[in-house]
């Protein structure tokens, strides 16, 4: 297999509150021989909130990010579902609306850039599954995850709206997604089947509708726990932040003791490929996985 090369759009969280997401992504890439160029020029995607304030401005800024992947002639990979959604929405909007594309390019020209539409945008999860291949990952497993029941939590913005993501996510069915399940299976873990795997974690209304946010996260976590999950894994750092950082508060609102380590997808892969829990920053989680990995205490 020829070497896979990607331009990595880190997003804000991997550069701030979830540094373990970036380090584990780079660790996985190194183990698998995937070449990654970090787009250090890329800005925040707006996280769908800037879009609420000023949609046009958000398109301009996202188009600028994509320009830098285009300059490298690479596919842009994301490690956050919301970065994936907002970048893909801008790409879709500009590729289908020549008038909007012209208006955006008029702004970009002021800083010497031009959006062309030549780079694909996909989440690292689907780069691993569809480009690298599950069989190839399977061959590289050094520490099988066979002692764990792992609840896959997909996160909305990789699977909905399905038409937008169809080409980038292997045609995942938003009502019955399977990619994370198949990945867990390839790492010899036991995927937990539970009905909230494709539901919303409530992160985006954490501030203004706290109760809604806690209930949505709680419903998903309790469902996973009731189906014997030892840990949860998600490709989205925002889902991770909601379910890890606010786990105590969520438990209080739901009326249940919740203790569930929430791993980033690349952390799970890195563990199976032989990285140590420390190397991939399991100690950076609020809800520690000390009962599974005592060395992270």
């Amino acid at each position: 297999m020829s070497t896979l090369k990607y331009a990595l759009f880190t997003g804000c969280t991997a550069k701030q509150s979830t540094p373990e997401l970036l380090s584990s992504t780079l660790a996985v890439a190194e183990k698998l021989g995937i070449e990654i160029t970090i787009l250090e020029e890329a800005s925040c995607c707006g996280a769908s909130h800037l879009q609420d304030f000023d949609e046009f401005l958000a398109h301009v800024l996202n188009a600028r990010n994509i320009c830098y992947a285009e300059k490298l002639g690479m596919t842009m990979i994301t490690i956050c579902n919301t970065c994936q959604l907002n970048s893909a929405m801008t790409k879709h909007a500009l590729d289908t609306d020549p008038d909007l594309k012209a208006r955006v390019n008029e702004k970009l020209a002021e800083v010497g850039l031009e959006y062309k539409g030549t780079s694909e945008i996909k989440h690292f999860l689907y780069a691993l599954i569809d480009d690298y291949g599950l069989d190839n990952i399977k061959d590289k497993v050094q520490v099988p995850l066979s002692q764990f029941n792992i609840a896959p939590f997909y996160g909305c913005h990789n699977i909905r709206p399905s038409e937008l993501h169809h080409n980038a996510n292997g045609g995942e069915n938003p009502y019955n997604p399977t990619s994370l399940d198949r990945l867990i299976d390839a790492l010899e873990g036991h995927p937990v089947d539970y009905s909230h795997k494709n539901k919303c974690c409530g992160f985006h209304v954490e501030l203004q509708a706290n109760h809604t946010s806690e209930v949505l996260a709680g419903n998903a976590m309790v469902d996973a726990i009731d189906n014997n999950a030892d840990l949860m894994v998600t490709p989205c750092p925002l889902c991770h932040l909601k379910m890890d950082t606010y786990q105590d508060d969520v438990g209080k609102v739901i009326g249940r003791d919740i203790e569930l380590p929430v791993l980033h997808m690349p952390q799970m892969v890195a563990l199976a490929l032989g990285c140590t829990p420390k190397e991939i920053g399991l100690n950076f989680h609020v809800q520690k996985a000390t009962h599974l990995y005592p060395e992270t205490a």
């Binding site: 800037l50 800024l61 709206p161 985006h204």
Partner: protein
């Protein structure tokens, strides 16, 4: 029937490649409940041979006609226009009269879970009490509000561009698919929901209408309004008319700012506040956005979380000095600053 096929044989059927078998054995695990007699709902299984042209509505009819005459569901037009036959199949919002059954078998396998749009509102089998939907829909004044001259001298004309603004949102058939797919509707009983927001948008952008500001004010309230949307895109996925309600929700958000309806509060400041970090660093400033949105007094709610995050090493001081420049800077930050300056269309 048979004489007709003998008379007309327009195709040589041998040349048509049939990839799907003519019938598939399908088990319908069906939600049953009668609010007048049952303490709890239960599921009954009906197994049948399903043909490739059969719709979900045909299967509902067959349950009633071939298995149990008491099975109840709403149906009327059979043309995807009355919005009566909305159900959920394996959790997927489905308009029964538009949905080919074997397409769902391809998605979910040979056992289909047939449920009403909202189990907690079930009255009898697939029939639910849609009162909350209709009340919320009515609340946004889903009609043109205007002083109409009873003796007009000319028509109230609209340009193609004006008409196109609400063309797709006007296709809503009030089936409730998006409303009952929305997780916020289930948690927050004040929340108006995606169908009501779509209607609010449709009439607010109508140039003949005069109640736009009133609708924007209603939908800007925290609790019932658009700011409680969790951005899960369930509504976009659910709509059988491809309306994409969340796109209209984003437009309502933007219009609230454009028309000066948005008041500074935790939600609006959270949206606008993204620019604060982006101007300084290119990235969102995670700590600043919380402080700015909540106000420094409101920060006390987040102190406990902040302490936990700090303890876990989730809060970094990029500069090495606590509370100063905790965020790294992107390369070519001046480009982002310039683009914000020349592209921003309005202010809070």
């Amino acid at each position: 029937m048979s004489t007709q096929t003998e008379e007309f044989e327009p195709f040589n059927t041998d040349e048509i490649e049939v990839t799907r078998p003519d019938t598939v054995t399908v088990t319908l695990k069906t939600f049953r409940f009668n609010a007048e007699t049952d303490y709890l709902p239960y599921y009954k299984q009906y197994t049948m041979e399903v043909g490739k042209d059969e719709l979900m509505l045909d299967l509902l009819n067959r349950i009633k006609w071939e298995h149990d005459g008491s099975f109840s569901y709403r149906r009327s037009c059979r043309h995807g226009i009355c919005g009566a036959c909305g159900i959920k199949v394996n959790g997927k919002a489905t308009l029964a009269c538009k949905q080919n059954a074997l397409e769902l078998v391809a998605l979910f396998g040979n056992e289909l879970l047939i449920e009403p749009q909202s189990k907690k509102r079930a009255v009898k089998d697939m029939i639910i009490d849609k009162k909350d939907f209709w009340d919320k829909h009515a609340e946004v004044k889903p009609y043109v509000v205007a002083d109409v001259d009873p003796h007009p001298e000319h028509e109230t004309k609209q340009s193609i561009e004006e008409f196109n603004k609400f063309l797709d949102s006007d296709l809503c058939i009030q089936c409730g698919s998006c409303h009952y797919a929305c997780p916020v509707v289930e948690v927050n009983e004040d929340y108006l929901g995606p169908a009501a927001f779509n209607a609010a948008y449709r009439f607010t952008v109508d140039t003949r209408d005069e109640a736009g500001r009133e609708r924007l004010e209603l939908t800007s309230e925290i609790g019932p309004g658009v700011w409680d949307c969790v951005k899960c895109f369930e509504c976009a996925e659910a709509c059988p008319k491809d309306i994409n309600p969340i796109e209209k929700i984003t437009k309502l958000h933007n219009m609230q700012f454009e028309q000066g309806v948005a008041k500074p509060n935790v939600a609006t400041k959270h949206a606008e506040g993204f620019l604060r970090g982006m101007k300084k660093y290119g990235y969102l400033d995670e700590a600043d956005i919380v402080a700015y949105s909540e106000g420094y007094l409101g920060m006390y709610k987040h102190l406990k979380t902040a302490m936990k995050m700090m303890k876990a090493g989730k809060i970094h001081w990029h500069s090495g000095i606590p509370f100063i420049d905790s965020v790294p800077k992107i390369k070519n930050l001046d480009e982002v600053q310039k683009l914000i300056e020349i592209s921003q269309t309005h202010k809070l």
